[in-house]
Symmetry: C2
Subunit: 221 residues, 2 copies
DNA sequence: GTTGAATAATGAACATGCTCAGTATTTAGC
DNA sequence: GCTAAATACTGAGCATGTTCATTATTCAAC
């Protein structure tokens, strides 16, 4: 089935409106049941039933069960990225800029930890589903937004002139990805706690491990 | 079923020997079929059949299908960690020590990318299986070994005196975890390529992003 | 409005992960 | 060696993810 991201200009048409309506119902049903019962115990039959569609219809909208999770999150994640990176203050230190952005993610995940756990644990490197490509595009976009912060920080002489911004952005993303999963895996996962941990790791990354003044043997090789 | 890690002293006994034999056959069968067909297309029935055991027996040795992957890897991962961190030369720069250790992982994963992909993609944050606890113990051990390298580097004045070794080890582990998955997700994943990428990220982490001499506005706040 | 083509919805049927009551094997006490 | 208890093995049966041939709906041309 073709699922179109409708542009604002063309008139929807009955078919498109019905499809969008079903999509919303499926999203809502999946969200509810995953939250209530967890990933495994939320059956596709129950989701289809609550959405008021046939079982087969579910698989016209999601390639498989895991895709249902993307179906819930994909739009939200894009909006989240927009808000998160729009909120940073360029004049603040890079660490604070990054924390300001990532704090949005921690708060969003903290608002529904069961659902977040499913997203972060079940789907880390999922790549075979129909919507997986969208998810990876979204992730690349996030890395790109991090890179922009670093490029600007470099322009402002907050980071070294010769830093590879792409590599630095990837590092930051990996640190965030690891930290947020480390955090969400625990039972009582308060966002503030996770953000503090992330701050520590990113702080290390920005400051570096080596001694600042060239005493000791740090500069060997 | 009780699966004992037999100590070297007590005589095995027929029952224990049979169990170990079945375990080995199941491990071999799972390894073969996962490699030949991939995770989803290797059915538990096929694995049981090739191992020469009943279907139900499989689930006496692994809690569920995902646990079969741990069953294959868990011992190897422990040995791998031993070899990897035993191979580092304390006199080398910290970056080279870390790369020397992680290169073992890249080479091991590179030797069977299909299997490695299953381990790294399917099971990243799996925590509900019977053997998952072992896996997490193994991961914590790895982080601990990284931490030891960092503590020694700190003693040798290769890293700053006031570095939080635990936090630094976690950072390094997250960078490795991200990089190795980034690498294995690609089609032609040659270890050397992945190691070079990791070196870049860890190099950044050790050197830091900020300018070394306090010119520019780097030291604000 | 009618009609044929295009598209979407559906659930019966199938494939497969997993359980568990029943059976077989091993052990320990004598 | 016999016996009973303990332990391990087994596959039929169930639950659930997924497919796909069939049916229903919408659209476009006239």
């Amino acid at each position: 089935m073709k699922i179109s991201r409708n542009s604002a200009l063309d008139v929807p048409g009955l078919r498109e409106r019905n499809k969008l309506d079903k999509l919303r119902r499926i999203q809502a049903a999946a969200r509810q049941l995953f939250t209530e019962r967890g990933y495994d115990r939320a059956t596709t039959r129950a989701i289809a039933r609550r959405a008021g569609v046939g079982l087969g219809t579910l698989f016209n909208y999601a390639g498989d069960k895991r895709d249902l999770v993307f179906l819930i999150f994909i739009e939200e994640l894009d909006h989240l990225a927009d808000r998160a990176f729009a909120s940073v203050d360029r004049r603040a230190p890079l660490l604070e800029q990054l924390i300001a952005a990532f704090a949005h993610y921690y708060r969003a995940f903290g608002a529904n930890t069961r659902l977040a756990r499913i997203l972060l644990q079940e789907l880390t490197f999922y790549s075979s589903g129909r919507l997986a490509a969208d998810f990876q595009r979204s992730r690349r976009r996030t890395v790109g937004l991090i890179e922009r912060l670093i490029v600007r920080a470099r322009q402002d002489h907050r980071v070294r002139r010769n830093i590879d911004a792409a590599a630095a952005a990837l590092s930051v993303f990996f640190l965030y990805a690891g930290a947020v999963r480390w955090w969400i895996a625990r039972d009582r996962s308060r966002p503030a706690r996770g953000i503090a941990e992330l701050r520590k790791l990113l702080g290390l990354h920005i400051a570096g491990l080596v001694p600042r003044s060239p005493r000791g043997r740090a500069s060997r090789r």
